[in-house]
Amino acid sequence: MAVKLGVPSKGRLQELTFDWFRTRGLDLRRSGSVREYAGAVDGFEGVELVLLSAGEIPRELVSGRIDLGVTGTDLVHERIPLWDQQMELLARLGFGHADLLLAVPKVWIDVDTLDDLDAAAAQFRARHGFRLRIATKYHTMVREFLRLNGVADYQLVDSQGATEGTVKNLTAEAIADISSTGDTLEANHLKPLADGLIHQSQAALFRARVAPAGTADQNILATLLARIGVHQSE
């Protein structure tokens, strides 16, 4: 058996993840061809590198099929109810920063706060006969945030990509999406709400609370974590 470490399968997030481990004395690398999703850990016996889509890593941690995983806190919060009972956040990695926020058209000069959004939603529903549509793929976090803040008369519409374009395309009136710089919002004539920050996400290293089977693997995990200088709670 081996301790399994899940990391993003490609792109900038993978590079930064490899960098983060390298500065902590652990060399991760892809093995095989560039297109093959296979990886290795150099100079550390008993650790297997698993390349996964960042979106699948939370689920794999819950099931215990991987022991450690790097993914965005937004994905964990959105997809795993009571996530902290299922996994432990060991370290925030300081990259992959992105804010999940609510945004509305810049021309809505009367809307700057959640209080305004709520009033605009009531007005919109009375005028148009349906609830104000908010496009997002983060249904759980957005719904909970709006419930806690007492916003009514809205509906969520699913948008798995190009969410900022939904307002212009008239399939939504507002959006809730990840924005790392604000440029995309600006380019799509949207502005964030002053108090509409739902979640500040970044890449993080998580440990599955399902312990690896066997003392050998448990020792490897403890040694690995000691090497990279992070502490687990139990």
Binding site: P81, P105, V107, W108, D110, T113, D115, G150, Q155, H189
Partner: protein, 369 residues
Amino acid sequence: MLNDRRGRIKAEAERMSAFFLAEGALPVEAASLQPAEILLDLYGEDIRARAYVTHDPMQGEQMLRPDFTVPVVQMHMDEGAEPARYTYQGPVWRKQAPGSDRASEYLQVGFELFDRTDPAASDAEVFALFGQVLEGLNLRASTGDLGILMAAVSGLSTIERRKAALKRHIWRPMRFRALLDRFGGASTMPESRRKLLEAVKSATVPEQIKAAGRFVGLRGRDEIAERVAALEEDQAAPPISREEVGYLEDILSIREKADIALKHLRRIEADFGPIRSAVDRFEQRLEALEARGIDVAALDFEGSYGRTTLEYYDGFVFGFHAEDRADLPVIASGGRYDALTGVLGRGRSIPAVGGVIRPEFVLALREGA
């Protein structure tokens, strides 16, 4: 063993159904799959987090029945004779909070009464029947009246828009409080709103919209202008007086036996006349309850009871709780929902009151498990 327990819960449900049938209720059924649109429209996005949604290629989004009230009201509005008493029993499906060990599929037994003649008598009938069918379980009944709170909001000496905003959030106590603070002048205006109201003095709304960027979205310029006008109207209106805010707070803070609550409300009414007819209705209800042998001097009344339930009750509300069993939620609950019949009745409406019981908790109490 598991099946045995299910069997005993079912038997408990049957016993309660038989009780309501003997009281003259017609048995009714409802489909397990309900069109999601109506439920979403009524309850809002929150119901999506509570109900199981599925999709049919032809019929669109469907929900596993999260309650019986909506289909029973629809059935009555479409084909029911008046007055009508209905009873039903069957499973409903609700997603439970993460980590909860509560069942997501459970039985409900319900009773609903549609009658125009004497709302006070109808309220009392429903409450008394629930009391009887739950007799011997040592439950504490809580009651409330959202009609009094609504009448109080309607009676405020302020602009209609503020009253509408408060009424819209009666079921969201925190938002209600925040609005009341703002309308009462207790909290300051957000900076962005102050700036906007300052800016519209020197440039028109269309000019400002133009300056803000390219126009996108379905919400029109006229809607934006309308809301800016509403904000200006709000700014110009004097705050809701300290006295009137005090009356609302007083009503919401009532936690007394029903007969004492009535005296308390009459004292508020002496200064704040608009709640008079709602308090009259409360008094008539207490008389009707007494006529059915209920001791109103021993009945709990709370001014804010029913504010955190799903938002369709608009008058009398009640719940039966097992005080020595903090692990169990409310055993039975109900209330008046006149406005809901109007929403579902496509122009027609009828006063209606009813409630539901959870047989599994009744059984848990009987068996001490």
